[in-house]
């Protein structure tokens, strides 16, 4: 590694392949079909016996995907979802081909998660030895509970040997990993990377968001005048990124900008004027070398909390005016926490590839106080460049710019 590496730009990166599983379905076809049909996956929560009503985006049949053999120590809901996602649409084969091209030690794994294997630890705490208080002997801390577990699992499952870590910046995690991968490739530390991540349902997030008073008792209604908070979902998305080459084609999606910022305001509440959000969007545009008018669609963070949506609307209007259509897809999938950055980047990529601008199920009346252009009904539209916003606890913000290669 020499300082010559600094002259190479971090952008653009090609999204050579991507893979997604959400409550909308498994794989790209089911995902774009649900987006086109405006079909929300939110349903009353039966996942936990909750003392309060709420809706979630739960992935059916995850329990059937247990991890066995020498990987059995990784078995937990979050890694099961990761395993299921790696198997979709030939994604693992694309990574294997990249491994042949570059060598396993030249491919990084930068994953994001908030929950990791927390559900497994919750269960283990309920099964503590009544006399000693010890956790059950089969509890595998490093391979399930620890935040790194997800990247370690993905790295092992894909037989990769490059640099790896997990970014855990709450709901901005799997957007920020695109930035890490771009910098690592620019610095010459690796040639390609698997980025993305997974988050799954668990009691900590269900009870935690309820305690914060931000969870809706109905399916979430982003940007609605009478929005009442979030619906939690679970999802995973993984993307193989590398420098654009002749192997890519016009349909390939490029990552052309990443913008990161901090709110410096509050641990669990966004800056009311959306200052951090605006900074992230501005920095992403700057990295992409674009002005606001170049963006055809904004996938908003839009979690349907009263303050969060208001702050984002303000930031978007201040920067883009009312001319750029935007929508939050949380009404489809729920708020998938740390996984939202990756899956919503994939929603944008699918929208670009299929000429479709997603709408916002459950949103009936857009808040009349809002000034940005909010799209309730999905429609056919040519999208050349899209922005995806992800804003998390602790004031962690990240915006991505994705574009059609040609």
């Amino acid at each position: 590694m020499s300082n010559a590496a600094r002259s190479s730009s971090a952008m653009p990166l090609a999204l050579s392949d991507f893979s997604i599983v959400t409550s909308l379905g498994a794989g790209r076809a089911q995902t774009i079909d649900a987006l086109r049909a405006g079909r929300s996956a939110l349903a009353p929560c039966t996942f936990e016996t909750l003392p309060f009503p709420t809706y979630v985006g739960e992935i059916a049949g995850l329990d059937a995907h247990s991890i066995n053999g020498e990987m059995a120590g990784f078995d937990c809901r979050n890694n099961r979802l990761a395993a299921m996602t790696l198997r979709q649409d030939g994604f693992a084969d694309s990574v294997a081909a990249a491994r042949e091209r570059y060598g396993s030690d030249r491919i990084g794994v930068f994953a994001g998660t908030s929950t990791s294997g927390l559900l497994k630890t919750e269960t283990a705490y309920r099964r503590r030895d009544p006399t000693t208080g010890r956790l059950p002997p089969e509890f595998d801390y490093a391979r399930t509970h620890n935040t790194y577990s997800l990247a370690r699992f993905v790295r092992a499952a894909l037989d990769l040997a490059g640099p790896a870590f997990v970014v855990s910046t709450a709901c901005a995690a799997t957007a920020k990993v695109f930035g890490s991968a771009a910098r690592m490739i620019a610095a010459g530390v690796c040639d390609a990377a698997v980025v993305g991540g997974a988050d799954t349902l668990c009691a900590t997030t269900l009870f935690g968001f309820h305690a914060l008073g931000v969870m809706a008792d109905e399916p979430c209604r982003p940007f609605d005048a009478s929005r009442r908070g979030i619906s939690i979902g679970e999802a995973a998305g993984f993307v193989l990124v590398e420098r654009p080459s002749d192997g890519h084609h016009a349909d390939t999606i490029l990552l052309t900008g990443v913008g990161e910022s901090s709110d410096a305001y509050h641990m669990s509440s966004p800056h009311p004027e959306g200052i951090g959000a605006r900074l992230a969007m501005e920095r992403a545009l700057e990295a992409a070398g674009l002005g606001p008018s170049a963006i055809d669609y904004i996938n908003l963070h839009g979690t349907a909390t009263p303050v969060g949506d208001a702050a984002e609307d303000r930031a978007v209007f201040d920067l883009f005016g009312a001319g750029t259509p935007g929508s939050s897809t949380k009404g489809f999938s729920g708020h998938t926490l740390g996984a939202s950055g990756a899956i919503e980047a994939i929603f944008c990529a699918l929208g670009i590839q299929h000429d479709f601008l997603p709408g916002s199920p459950h949103t009936r009346t857009v808040d009349p106080a809002f000034k940005s252009q909010y799209v309730r009904e999905g429609r056919r539209a040519r999208i050349n460049r899209a922005m995806s916003n992800s804003f998390g606890f602790g004031g962690a913000n990240c915006s991505l710019v994705l574009a059609r290669a040609a």
């Binding site: 590496a5 705490y125 010890r134 910046t169 709450a170 910098r183 935690g208 910022s261 901090s262 606890f393």
Partner: protein
């Protein structure tokens, strides 16, 4: 890939700040293990100091020390936070409540449970809107954080602060994840030398070689092995000795991050602007 270390912060057992710990790390003074004493960070107002969790107090203390040494204001500097397990006390309290009949969580405890809690408080305390990331790589969290921070400084051509910390879990998690005494370290990295530069570090990521740098002192070596953030100690020792050194850090099961550490005399940097080396 070469970066420059402009400021160091340290808080660990018998390691009360970078300034007083240097003779201990350099081997000129005996290390006396003691409980980790977290100094009051000037970044936290008194009422916040009492409420703040240990990971926040530790991070803000070492961060403040490193930035003061660097002579740099933190508000414009990007940060990388690295921790093996985050705030074990908070996650234990949440898990305990969820295993009890009354599963009502404290909202504050819930928002403190995220891995980027220290980063959030850091941003608020320093009024920094600069990018900040928080990562985890189990035992190798410090090494992963150092790699991420060095890459950021190099590619973005901006200073970056790394803050790595680890604290112990309470029972029963400490049975399955024993961590040594709490320790935090902060490094302010720059892409070019400045008047405050302490050392240049050339980073080489390689397939795993057998060698790993250890601490000559038995108690510091025990700390290095037991507290993931203390994997930083051989790097700090090299800077404290003011002697050039090749520091080898294990990274995952198959890689070594080799650091070519060359101390720099600050006055020489000012005059020449590149790595004038301290003789002998």
């Amino acid at each position: 890939m070469r970066v420059y270390i402009e400021g160091v912060g340290l808080c660990g057992p018998g390691l009360d700040g970078w300034t007083t710990s240097q003779p201990v790390l350099a081997g000129a003074q005996e290390h006396t293990p003691a409980s980790t004493r977290v100094p009051a960070s000037p970044l936290l107002p008194a009422n916040e100091r009492r409420r703040a969790v240990q990971t926040v107090r530790l991070s803000l203390a070492v961060g403040a020390e490193a930035f003061a040494a660097a002579g740099r204001h933190p508000s414009a500097t990007a940060t990388v936070f690295a921790s093996s397990g985050g705030d074990g006390e908070t996650i234990h309290e949440i898990l305990n409540v969820l295993a009890s009949p009354n599963r009502e969580l404290s909202p504050t405890r819930f928002h403190n449970s995220v891995h980027n809690t220290p980063a959030g408080y850091w941003g608020i305390a320093t009024e920094s809107r600069a990018p900040s990331t928080s990562l985890c790589c189990h035992d190798d969290s410090f090494v992963a954080g150092l790699l991420e921070a060095a890459v950021q400084a190099t590619v973005e051509q901006q200073p970056v602060a790394l803050i790595a910390y680890d604290v112990q879990y309470p029972a029963p998690l400490c049975d399955v994840r024993p961590i040594g005494a709490a320790l935090a370290v902060a490094l302010v990295l720059t892409p070019e030398p400045s008047g405050s530069t302490l050392a240049s570090v050339e980073l080489h990521l390689r397939p795993r070689s057998g060698a790993v740098s250890i601490m000559p002192s038995a108690s510091l070596e025990a700390l290095r092995q037991r507290t993931p953030a203390a994997r930083s100690l051989p790097v700090l020792a090299a800077i404290a000795r003011r002697d050039k050194a090749m520091v080898m850090l294990d990274y995952l099961s198959d890689m070594t991050l080799a650091l070519d550490v060359v101390p720099i005399r600050a006055d020489a940097v000012l005059g020449i602007g590149s790595s004038e080396r301290v003789p002998g």
